[in-house]
């Protein structure tokens, strides 16, 4: 029978250094994936961790990883031509089909940008199905900025309103402060129909959602993506469970009306 825990080897096609601590790995892969889905990446002898798809193209997927622990460190030791083991894709995705023809607000922090990057790229490549994209992203400091090229391209799109910020410093093209401070600039009142996607550390997501509500956003139109400790990603190990919900199976994306009621 099928072994859902068995990873498969995939070749690393390219490695891009985003920052000192964040690398993007391009990996050979030719099956379909949805927006914001994730894979369990593993290196034998080190372990396994959930990592979102940050980009995709013909015959490849991209993963952007922050070096934080054993596995991510191990991956950083790999190079073009090496083998990365993966299983997936897992999890649900943002309801991107529902986002079409409406205004879209994307708020994210740090590596939280990776899972929504494919969504942003989709609307950039298809301006005809987009009304507007309000994109707010925050990084710790200028050295932590990810996807510099993509940020630049997004800012040049006629339908995109971009706000880039750094926690405690200023830099060309970047405001100072947290993303929450810039949510008030989103003209929720002018929107006919819209969606809000929020991805980042738990605190940042909570405060951002609160701020959206304060500015008149409808909780039913807010989507958040949860990050939980995961060992299996297939509903067996129990690590990601919150109340009766398994984040790996039922998420990681939740509508705010559900997310607001989940408690750890």
């Amino acid at each position: 029978m099928e072994n859902i825990m068995l990873p498969e080897p995939h070749q690393i096609l390219d490695v891009v250094k985003e920052t000192q601590a964040e690398y993007t790995f391009r990996v050979a892969y030719d099956k379909p994936t949805q927006y914001n889905q994730f894979f369990q990446l593993s290196i034998p002898k080190v372990g396994e961790a959930p990592i979102s798809v940050s980009g995709k193209g013909n015959g490849y997927l991209e993963f952007t990883m922050r070096k934080v622990g054993r596995l991510t460190e191990g991956v950083f030791g790999l190079d073009k031509g090496d083998t990365l083991f993966m299983r997936g894709p897992y999890g649900n995705s943002f309801p991107v089909a529902d986002f079409e023809g409406k205004d879209l607000v994307v708020i994210c922090g740090g590596t939280g940008m990776s899972p929504v990057k494919t969504v942003l790229t989709h609307f950039m490549d298809h301006p005809e199905i987009s009304k507007s994209v309000h994109f707010i992203v925050g990084f710790k400091d200028i050295n932590s900025v990810l996807f510099t090229d993509a940020l630049k391209t997004f800012s040049e799109q006629p339908k995109f309103r971009t706000t880039y910020c750094l926690d405690n410093s200023e830099a060309p093209g970047f405001h100072k402060g947290f993303v929450t401070q810039y949510i008030k600039n989103v003209p929720f009142a002018d929107f006919d129909d819209y969606n809000v996607a929020i991805v980042g550390p738990p605190m940042m997501m909570g405060f951002s959602a609160q701020e959206c509500l304060k500015n008149g956003a409808d909780p039913k139109k807010i989507w958040v993506s949860f990050e939980r400790r995961m060992s299996c990603a297939v509903g067996k190990c129990g690590h990601c469970k919150i109340n009766d919900t398994y984040v790996c199976l039922d998420g990681p994306v939740f509508n705010y009306t559900k997310a607001a009621h989940l408690f750890d």
């Binding site: 083991f85 400790r229 297939v234 129990g238 690590h239 469970k241």
Partner: protein, 558 residues
């Protein structure tokens, strides 16, 4: 049907045939009347005709003075069955020939047939029956009683179908027509109803008789021989003493491979559950080199025969749900062992001190391949899986059916959480934080729980270069403070109280909420025995339910 049930049933049938035969053979005697007057006739027999018959009999005895009955019935008997005072034809002549021959005469083909049948059995009419013929209803009914006694189901079915049922319906129709008493009309209904029901019953008995006996009794020494025989194909596991002491300073009981009945500790709860057999504490998932992975294999082909109590059998369904149903995904490491498990249910003779299985509805189970009762020097066995029947060919059959306990010393009341808002309230009670000082987060409670399924994965390398090794999975525990920890040290649940709330809701609310049928906890009481800080899970549930009820009340007041 157990053998004793079959035996009782046969006795009852035999008596009923004899009784009916007597009623038709002569007028009722005074002593029979005396007895009948005091009978409470059955109701709702399952046969509408019998119900009606009994109803008529009852009405007859209620409406008649005892003194008048004998004569009244004798008079009716003579009129209905002997055609006394009637012109020919206006009676129910009690002979099969009359009802099956075109000329409506006695001593025709049917009479010859039944005589031949009785002849085969070397039977002849008693002298007291000299005045009637062999195809008289009373003789045919008596013959049925005789066949019942001989327990020959096939002969009974044939005789009933080819003879009695061939004419009795018309005959009884005539009784109803010509009798003026509720008594004989009632007897007519009873006769038809009974014979029809009996035909169906014989069929059931025939099927039951074809099914081999399933319960047996055997000496422990014989059962030991069976265990040894099973060991060729099975790892035979049961709770047994191992070195070490429990928190209560008792010898530890854990599931072990056993060799004989005397190894099995069946009369107290084991410290560890059977879970570790089909979901090992640590198991290798796959081996890897730098470029490939290879799935692990089981160490041998043997199946597992596990002696377990109903709580653990019920727990098995919970772990099945998580590993084989959740998310529609099946965990092959679990399934490959689980498929090998055969269950020998050990009857619980008494509730252990900490068990609260009755409150959790898991004191019973019929999900087993065999069930056993330990009885000093002998074993009682009920076999459900037919593949084991061959092992009991030489054993003495018995009536054994496993019994279940229906009461525990410990009981729990589960909280009634009816909405998302109430769940919020339940999850944020101050009550939970009272565990911060008590629980040390050792995870012992999860380790002994038959329904806990959580695990971590762990990579192990064999050499310095780390190029070869294996990935294992190891039980984890939601009570450990690192269970929800992510890189950078952030923890979703931060205090022992948070963890206790999570575990408790998981066991008595979340799981049921997600999967519907039942709560996760089976009330086996092991975590209660295990806790080094004397935190009783049944007390925890009860404390939660009380605190929650109070909070609900306070909210209602506000």
């Amino acid at each position: 049907m157990s053998p004793s049930e079959v035996q009782t049933l046969n006795q009852n049938r035999l008596h009923f045939y004899q009784l009916l035969a007597r009623v038709y053979q002569h007028e009722l005697s005074q002593s029979m009347i005396q007895q009948l007057v005091h009978v409470t006739f059955p109701k709702q027999t399952g046969s509408a005709e019998m119900d009606r018959g009994y109803g008529l009999l009852e009405r007859y005895f209620v409406n008649h003075q005892i003194a008048a009955i004998e004569e009244d019935l004798a008079c009716d008997y003579a009129k209905v069955f002997l055609a006394a005072g009637e012109t020919k034809g206006n009676a129910a002549f009690p002979y099969e020939s009359v009802y099956t021959s075109d000329e409506k005469l006695v001593m025709q083909q049917a009479w010859a047939d039944v005589r031949a049948i009785y002849g085969l059995e070397k039977l002849a009419l008693d002298t007291e029956m000299a005045d009637i013929k062999e195809d008289h209803i009373a003789v045919e009914l008596k013959f049925m009683a005789y066949l019942c006694e001989k327990n020959n189901l096939e002969a009974q079915q044939t005789f009933l179908k080819t003879h009695l049922l061939d004419w009795i319906v018309d005959f009884c129709e005539d009784i109803r027509k010509y009798s003026h008493t509720d008594f004989y009309r009632g007897i007519a209904d009873l006769t038809v109803g009974f014979l029809k029901r009996d035909a169906a019953l014989i069929e059931t008995l025939q099927t039951a008789a074809q099914a081999p006996a399933t319960s047996f009794t055997m000496a422990n020494s014989d059962f030991d021989a069976l265990i040894q025989q099973w060991q060729q194909h099975y790892h035979v596991f049961a709770p047994a003493f191992v070195n070490g002491r429990s928190n209560q300073h008792r010898p530890l009981v854990r599931f072990q491979e056993i060799n004989q009945v005397s190894d099995i500790v069946y009369d107290r709860q084991s410290d560890f559950s059977a879970k570790e057999i089909y979901y090992p504490i640590m198991q290798t998932m796959f081996y890897f080199t730098e470029h490939e992975v290879k799935e692990s294999r089981l160490k041998d082909d043997k199946d597992y025969l596990i002696f377990m109590h109903p709580c653990d059998i019920n727990a098995l369904r919970r772990t099945d749900t998580v590993f084989m149903k959740n998310g529609g995904l099946t965990d092959s490491y679990y399934k490959r062992l689980r498929d090998k498990v055969k269950i020998v249910m050990m009857e619980c003779t008494q509730s252990c001190e900490n068990c609260f299985c009755v409150s959790m509805n898991s004191n019973r189970s019929d999900h087993y391949d065999m069930a056993v009762r330990f009885d000093q020097h002998q074993m009682n066995v009920n076999v459900k899986d037919p593949s084991f029947l061959a092992d009991f060919q030489a054993a003495q059959t018995s009536d054994f059916q496993p019994q279940f306990i229906s009461e525990n010393q410990a009981t729990v009341t589960l909280p009634e959480i009816n909405s998302r808002e109430e769940l919020d309230l339940a999850g944020h009670l101050d009550y939970w934080q009272t565990f911060n000082e008590r629980c040390i987060g050792c995870g012992g409670c999860n380790t002994v729980c038959p329904t806990c399924t959580c695990f971590d994965t762990l990579d192990v390398t064999y050499d310095e270069s780390g190029k070869q090794g294996e990935r294992r999975r190891v039980w984890s525990s939601c009570m450990l403070d690192t269970f929800t920890q992510t890189a950078g040290g952030n923890r979703a649940r931060k205090t022992p109280g948070d963890n206790m709330r999570f575990k408790t809701l998981h066991k008595v609310y979340d799981y049921k909420q997600r999967f519907g049928e039942e709560n996760m906890c089976v009330g086996c009481g092991r975590c209660v025995m295990r806790c080094p800080k004397d935190i009783s899970f049944s007390d925890t549930i009860n404390g939660f339910t009380a605190a929650f009820a109070q909070a609900k009340q306070e909210q209602a007041v506000k």
